[in-house]
């Protein structure tokens, strides 16, 4: 189907015919107009020829008019008139006039030399004659002939105006301008000047317009019917024109070469145009001959229109051809435009495609970056992440998965079945546990706890979360995360243990107060009994045993409280080696000699921040256990103090420890050793391998609790039959150790007046007796309210107040505040069996001088009293 914008053929033909007709008409008008223009041009050319001749005639006329002025001015020149004046004064020619004539001659010479046409002189000769025609001054140009004339013929005394004279010479016709001179109205002389006629014609008349021009012009004078040309002899053929006289002035005549007496100027028989133009004010006229062809051209006027017609026909034919070519070009152009549009469309599509490719690349890059980002994030996660297809084949796992399960990326690339991650007994349960959720289209499955299996076959508890991978409505796989529950299980165990300890602590705290009160009475009375009996009587020994049993009971209470972390601890910088040495003295005394004790202090003055009593307790417990493991045979007990530095890797492998420096306390024995199961339980409270009544089962639990509370760790290595090694690591402290005061164990006596308050009557009694035994005056009361009233009544009677903490109606703390309000400087000793609400630190902050734990012994009491009183 042709394009819609191509002209229909019929319409095109009509347009072509119309345009063709218009062109033909236009050409016809152009031809007529051209012919008419040619004719007008010829007329204008002839008119211009006439005007040119008239212009030249005017120039010649003006020229000779100027010459008349020249000669007239000479007649009135100052030098000429001076001569006439001197002449009139009577001066002789010999004495004066000659000098005047010399001046005139100079003036004439000046005119001869200065009046020029270009470089050619205008004047040939200037002559001054006296009224009789005698020459006075005669100046000539160098080439002018010194012709002797009858000068009288030029005298014109009656005609004052300059006149032009024609005088035929031997070779040319001379033109003379003559003017009379007058002095005081009298004719005094005549000046006659010869004009160089050839110079005039050469400069003003010559019509030569180039080497090819055959135009001729000359000035012709008519004298007595004879025509005298003034020009060069080559132009003299004008004189041979027989019918020159017939030429009418101002009209153009045409004639052929033969008419000019065979004087060949151009081609023989050539046609000429001639025109005569009179020169105003001069006795001659200008004759101009021009070859007709030079003026009007050789081409007849009809030739150009005819040529134009032929040219128009040629152009029309050419236009037809051009039109047809143009039409074909239009079709081609249209097709080219279509092709260009198609190309442009393709280019635009290509451009869109390129943009799409760029966009897709950008998206791919973004996806790649996103995938990389998520992969990195996935790798950063500590939990294993996986993807598996419908065939249980793992398609993706993160770095944590490799680490958790022990597989390598090469294993993954080879293809890894997800079921290998589950213990054989859990595979079916886990897979079936996940699949129902997937079948139900749930995005996420419920967590399933299972036993995971590493590549090396070891297992660990784990929890799996998964969600389905969908393609449309089709589930094509699962992706999820596996959580290692090992730590969680361990923490749960620890939590359970802690809860158990807390329950023990609560129990211990609950009974500790009452138990201590009881022990206080027992120990107190026992001590009094011992002090009142002789050492050598058997009763004294019995009483001694009672006291030892009471003290063990007291220690048991303290261990229970410490184990449950209810005990009072004070962390101070402590050189552990000194504690070890002190403890080892006690150990040495209590162990049989079959056990060799080897103490090795590899690092002196290693400081830790701890409670000395607790560290002492740790050493004692560990050494006691070691001795127990070697009971009944010879053995070696080694206690080693050292300093170790844990790097990051070592710290990560140790429980409860960080990177840094630690004090190592190692207790090693070569006793019976323990199997692994036993090792796992030794730190459990109340777990003991000792016979009933021998051990409480709290020793290692207490040690474990103390070490953990101090930020340290304890580990055990043991082998059945070879012995055990306990290593305690405590953080190395960067602090100085205060010197420990060694308290005297003697009882201090005094005579001050002491107010003793305790709700337990037994305690009041034993306290009164003990204080009296020490020499003090005692006012005892089992009611804190009454005691307060007593103090209010006589505040200055008492030097010291000893009060229990836990009392009905008013606690020891409240009583102390009231007492210090009444008498701020009253020394107070606060005693307590056990109380969560009060600590030694808190009591000291209140202003209480001493804090004394029950059950106290007399020695402790006496020391506290003296410290409180001596501060006063």
């Amino acid at each position: 189907m042709p394009p819609a914008h191509i002209y229909p053929q019929k319409r095109l033909n009509l347009t072509t015919v119309a345009v063709g007709c218009a062109l033909v008409c236009y050409i016809a008008v152009m031809l007529v107009s051209s012919y008419s223009s040619q004719m007008k041009l010829r007329e204008a050319t002839l008119e211009q020829l006439k005007q040119d001749a008239e212009k030249r005639a005017s120039a010649v006329s003006y020229f000779y008019s100027e010459r008349k002025n020249d000669v007239g001015e000479l007649a009135n020149n100052r030098t000429v008139t001076a001569y006439f004046e001197n002449q009139a004064l009577g001066m002789s020619m010999q004495y004066g006039l000659t000098a005047s004539l010399i001046g005139i001659a100079d003036t004439f010479e000046q005119v001869l030399t200065e009046k020029k046409l270009d470089s050619d002189r205008i004047y040939q000769r200037i002559v001054l004659t006296d009224p009789e025609g005698k020459v006075l001054v005669d100046r000539r140009s160098p080439l002018a002939p010194a012709t002797s004339l009858d000068w009288k013929q030029f005298l014109s005394p009656d005609n004052p105006a300059p006149v032009m004279l024609i005088r035929p010479g031997e070779e040319r016709v001379d033109v003379l301008i003559s003017v009379p001179c007058y002095f005081k109205g009298r004719f005094s002389g005549q000046i006659t000047a010869w004009v160089h006629s050839e110079t005039v014609c050469e400069h003003l008349v010559s019509t030569t317009k180039g080497p090819a021009s055959k135009r001729i012009a000359c000035i012709v004078a008519e004298r007595g019917g004879e025509f005298l040309p003034l020009n060069d002899p080559k132009d003299a053929y004008c004189s041979r024109i027989k019918d020159l006289s017939k030429l009418k002035a101002g009209e153009i005549h045409a004639f052929r070469q033969t008419a000019v007496d065979n004087y060949e100027v151009g081609e023989r028989n050539a046609e000429f145009l001639g025109i005569t133009t009179p020169i105003k004010g001069a006795p001659f006229f200008l004759v101009t001959f021009v070859p007709k062809a030079e003026v009007l051209g050789e081409t007849p006027p009809w030739m150009l229109p005819m040529g134009m017609g032929l040219l128009s026909l040629f152009i029309l034919g050419g236009l037809v051809i051009v039109w047809s070519i143009r039409m074909r070009n239009i079709v081609l152009h249209t097709r080219l435009e279509e092709a260009a549009r198609g190309k442009q469309e393709v280019e635009s599509r290509n451009e869109a495609l390129s943009k799409e490719i760029v966009e897709r690349r950008r998206i791919e890059e973004a996806l790649r970056e996103s995938e990389e980002r998520y992969r990195q994030l996935a790798d950063l996660l500590p939990q294993p992440i996986f993807e598996m297809d419908a065939n249980n084949r793992l398609t993706f796992v993160n770095r944590a998965a490799f680490k958790a399960f022990g597989y390598t990326p090469e294993d993954f690339l080879k293809g890894l079945d997800a079921r290998l991650l589950f213990s054989p007994e859990d595979q079916i349960r886990v897979i079936h546990g996940l699949c129902p959720s997937v079948r139900e289209g749930a995005r996420e499955t419920s967590a399933i706890e299972f036993s995971a299996r590493r590549k090396d076959g070891t297992r660990f508890p784990a929890l799996i979360y998964a969600s389905s991978i969908m393609q449309g409505d089709l589930v094509v796989g699962l992706r999820g995360t596996i959580m290692d529950l090992s730590e969680r299980k361990k923490m749960e165990t620890e939590l359970l243990r802690t809860q158990k300890l807390e329950s023990v602590g609560v129990l211990a705290g609950g009974i500790a107060h009452d138990f201590n009160n009881i022990l206080t009475a027992i120990i107190g009375y026992t001590e009094l009994a011992m002090r009142k009996t002789e050492n050598d009587v058997p009763v004294h020994g019995y009483i001694q045993e009672i006291l030892q049993a009471s003290l063990r009971a007291r220690d048991l209470v303290q261990q229970i409280l410490a184990f449950s972390r209810k005990g009072e601890t004070e962390l101070v910088p402590l050189e552990i080696d000194s504690v070890v040495k002190e403890a080892m003295k006690l150990i040495r005394a209590s162990l049989p000699t079959t056990i060799e004790i080897r103490q090795e202090i590899r690092r002196q003055h290693a400081v830790v921040r701890a409670d000395p009593t607790q560290i002492h307790q740790v050493i004692m417990n560990l050494c006691t256990n070691a001795a127990h493991a070697m009971s009944g045979r010879t053995g070696l007990l080694e206690v080693i103090v050292d300093r170790v530095i844990l790097n990051a890797e070592e710290a990560a492998g140790a429980e409860n420890l960080g990177q840094g420096a630690y004090v190592s306390l190692t207790v090693r024995d070569n006793g019976m050793g323990m199997d692994p199961e036993l090792q796992d339980r030794i730190f459990e409270p109340y777990f003991t391998t000792k016979a009933k009544g021998v051990g409480t089962g709290l020793g290692l639990s207490v040690v474990h609790g103390i070490i953990r509370a101090l930020g340290g760790a304890i580990s055990v290595e043991s082998e059945v039959g070879k012995g055990s090694t306990f290593q305690v690591l405590l953080p190395l402290a960067n602090a100085e150790v205060k010197a420990r005061s060694t308290a005297s164990i003697q009882a201090f006596r005094g005579s001050e007046h002491i107010l003793l308050v305790d709700d337990e009557q037994t305690i009041v009694e034993i306290g009164r007796e003990a204080l009296k035994h020490l020499g003090y005056h005692v006012a005892a009361n089992n009611s804190s309210v009454e005691a307060l009233q007593l103090f209010k009544d006589r505040p200055d009677d008492f030097d010291l107040v000893i009060t229990d903490m836990t009392m009905p109606n008013m606690t020891g703390e409240e009583l102390a505040r009231e007492l210090m309000r009444i008498r701020p400087n009253i020394p107070i000793i606060l005693c307590t069996g056990y109380n969560d609400m009060m600590t030694e630190k808190k009591a000291k902050e209140m202003g209480i001088r001493e804090y004394l734990a029950k059950p106290w012994v007399i020695q402790d009491l006496s020391s506290a009293i003296r410290r409180a009183l001596d501060q006063h």
């Binding site: 001076a82 001197n86 004064l89 002789s92 000098a99």
Partner: protein
């Protein structure tokens, strides 16, 4: 255009400075005019002149100024112009003081010669020849009597005899005031003017001012030499008239100290060359174009 030395202020300053220098040098020179060797030795030709007609115009040129410059150039020495006055010109060139009575000369002493050659249209007179030497004549001269145009005196009609014409003029001078300048070529005493009954009056001005004095009526007549008359006829045509000759034909020339014969001889040789080669004719056409036509016999070479 005179010389390029005058075209700029710097050139003028240099010229004046050089002239002053040379003048001072001349004052320190010999008492008499120097001869040729001395001139060449000194490197300076001192031209003594008086501003007069077109010989020394006073504007740095003139017929004699140009001629002296050419002569100095020929000698290869520097040209220096030394201006004097007509009464002093003979003393300045001769280096002698004198007392003149008629045609007699009495040397009264010596003075410092200010120049080597005096050229300023100096007329060769017999008394002058007694104290200085003259070159070959360089210019024709004659003393004419001029009167105002309305004077009662009428020009004589030449008789063809110069002496008769002189007597004819003198015969008309009885009781006529005649203006002249003493000590110059137009000194009335030189021509016996008082003896013919005329009233001789000495003119205090310069020679160039004689014709204006007559035109103004300061005197009825005045003695004028031909060069001055030629210039005056151009300047004031019809204002005065020439009565006739007072003297016979005279000559002008260059004056030299009598102690400078070699210098005079060198000049004569130089002048002859100028006549022969047309250089002098060119100078005449420049300053006195009519003179050669008036006295064609005096300048035969120039009219060739």
């Amino acid at each position: 255009m005179r010389t390029t030395q005058y075209n700029c202020f710097g050139g003028q300053v240099m010229m004046v400075a050089f002239t002053v220098f040379c003048f001072l040098a001349s004052l320190a020179g010999p008492a008499l005019g120097a001869d040729l060797p001395e001139v060449k030795a000194s490197g300076v030709l001192r031209h003594i002149g008086v501003p007069y007609a077109n010989f020394v115009t006073g504007g740095g040129d003139g017929l004699d100024v140009d001629l002296m410059k050419l002569f100095a150039k020929r000698l290869g020495v520097q040209y220096v112009y030394v201006e004097t006055s007509w009464p002093k010109v003979i003393e300045d060139i001769s280096g002698k003081t004198f007392h003149r009575v008629g045609e007699s000369i009495e040397i009264t002493g010596s003075t410092k010669a200010l120049g080597d050659i005096a050229a300023s249209g100096v007329t060769i007179l017999p008394w002058r020849e007694k104290i200085v030497d003259f070159s070959t004549p360089t210019f024709p001269n004659q003393v004419w009597l001029a009167a105002r145009s309305d004077s009662r005196l009428q020009p004589i009609t030449p008789s063809g005899d110069m002496l008769k014409d002189v007597e004819m003029v003198k015969s008309r001078l009885k009781d006529i005031t005649v203006l002249g300048i003493s000590g110059t070529c137009i000194d009335p005493k030189l021509y016996g003017i008082p003896e013919v009954g005329a009233i001789a009056r000495n003119f205090d001005g310069k020679l160039n001012e004689m014709v204006p004095a007559v035109i103004n009526g300061d005197a009825e007549t005045a003695l004028l030499d031909v060069p001055d008359i030629l210039i005056s006829m151009e300047k004031w045509p019809g204002r005065f008239k020439i009565i006739g000759p007072i003297s016979e034909m005279q000559n002008m020339g260059c004056a030299f100290s009598k102690e400078s014969p070699k210098l005079r001889e060198a000049f004569n040789s130089f002048f002859k060359e100028c006549l022969d080669n047309g250089v002098y004719a060119g100078l005449l056409n420049k300053y006195y174009p009519a003179i050669m036509q008036m006295y064609p016999d005096f300048f035969p070479q120039a009219n060739h």
